[in-house]
Structures are given as C-alpha cells and as structure tokens.
Amino acid sequence: MNVKLTFEKNTLTVQLSGEIDHHSARGIRQAVDADIEKYRPKTLVLDFGRVKFMDSSGIGLIMGRYRMMKIAGGVVRIDHVPQHLERLIALSGVRQITE
C-alpha cells in the first residue's frame, strides 16, 4: 500500500507515495480513516512528497478527509507538494480548505 501512518502529539501524519488514482485511493482512504477513528487527531497531515503521479482522485481524497476532520473539529494540512502536482492542486482550490 502507498501509505505510511504515524501518530504523535495529536497529529496524524500520512506519508503518501507512488501513484494515487481512483484504484489506489480506496486502500489509502481505508487506512487513513481507520487511524482517524482510532486516534482522533487534531491535525491530519497529508504528505505528498513521494507521490509520483496523482489525478483528481487524490483531490477527492483530500476533500473527503477534510470533511471528516471538520466534523471532529480538526484541520488538514498538505505538505511537500511536488512541482508536478502544483497545477492540479491549484486547479482544485483545495488550498482554501487546508492549512
């Protein structure tokens, strides 16, 4: 699976890697959601530093986690967005809902 999770100081950090598309997003979503339920973090950090490819399924993944975190009063931060994903991130407007 393209995901490594660590929980520390009320922050759940998700290290994403490889390719994020509709097919792979399901496994990532299940893993992240399970840990959000388990740890109830205040901050969810989605780290895109090692992502080689991403389509709009990755944007759906961010938006879905934002909704979950918002209900629980938490926030989502997106970190280390590689140059090649900048245009997709900008097009989606997710910067407006993340830290």
């Binding site: 390719e19 598309d21 509709h22 097919h23 792979s24 997003a25 979503r29 490819f53 991403m54 389509d55 709009s56 399924s57 944007i59 759906g60 993944l61 938006m63 879905g64 090649h84 245009r87 997709l88 097009l91 989606s92």
Partner: protein, 152 residues
C-alpha cells in the same frame, strides 16, 4: 501533417486498468519526445477519462473500454477514449467543475482536468449507448528524436 503511428487498446472496465491505460498511452507518445510535464499532463487526462468510464459509464459493472491514440509528425496527439455504457444525459452539466453524480470521494474535476491539461477536448454521448471523449495535445518539437521520415 502526416500520421506517424496509431494504436488501439481494448480492456475491461476494472479500476486496475486506469494505471495500465495511462502507462500504455504514455509509452506510445514517447517518439514525439514530450517533456516530463507534457507526459504527466497526458497521463493525468487519460487517467481521468478511463476512470469516468469505470465509475460512470459502466457504474463499476463489466464493460469494455477502448483507447485509440494517434501521433502526427507536427507533434499532434489525438486520444479517443470510449465506453458503451450508460451515456451522459446532460454533457454541459457533467463538464462543470465540482459537479459529480456520485459525490463523496469524487471531486467532480475529471473534465476540468482534461480541459486544462490538454489543448482540445470533445465529448459525445448517447444515453444507453455510451460516451466518447476525444482529446488533443500538441507537443512542442525540439528537434530531438525525430522519426525516420523526418530525417533527410
């Protein structure tokens, strides 16, 4: 403008084939010597179109997705992706950014990405017959890796 090469792929509407389709198209267009960014744009657009076939065209059911790609000596790439699924009733609405019939985990950005990452996008559809998406992109020719026909 001469056709350099053409290919057609048919595969079943399984989500694992989203990766297969974009990787195959990206390998096919390599003779045009695209930049990493151009290649990434094409892969992303193909991934969006194939995902639409899986989720919307066939609604996760069984079906065949066809991808046809053509490359021309002036750097033009034409990619046609079609399904024989349920079709789109209202194409302008489906193409609106953030519109999604399935909601939840889908951002509703598929067509917006295709439009933004490619130079031309055409969508034709007939309810209960299927949908075809034709995308074009021009690769800037930088004089490297010319095809045999171009060499004197």
């Amino acid at each position: 403008m001469d056709l350099i090469n053409e290919m057609t792929l048919s595969f079943s509407s399984r989500s694992m084939n989203e990766n297969f389709a974009r990787t195959a198209v990206s390998a096919f267009v390599l003779p045009l010597d695209p930049t990493i960014t151009e290649l990434s744009d094409i892969k992303t657009a193909v991934s969006e179109a194939v995902t639409n076939c899986v989720i919307h065209g066939y609604e996760y059911g069984e079906g065949i997705i066809t991808v046809n790609a053509k490359i021309y000596d002036n750097g033009r790439i034409v990619i046609k992706i079609r399904d024989k699924g349920k079709g789109i009733e209202n194409i302008p609405q489906a193409m609106e950014p953030l519109f999604s019939t399935v909601g939840g985990e889908r951002a509703g950005l598929g067509f917006a990405v295709m439009q933004s990452f490619m130079d031309k996008l055409k969508v034709t559809s007939k309810v209960n017959c299927g949908t075809a998406v034709t995308m074009e992109k021009y690769i800037i020719r930088r004089g490297r890796a010319k095809t045999d026909d171009e060499n004197p």
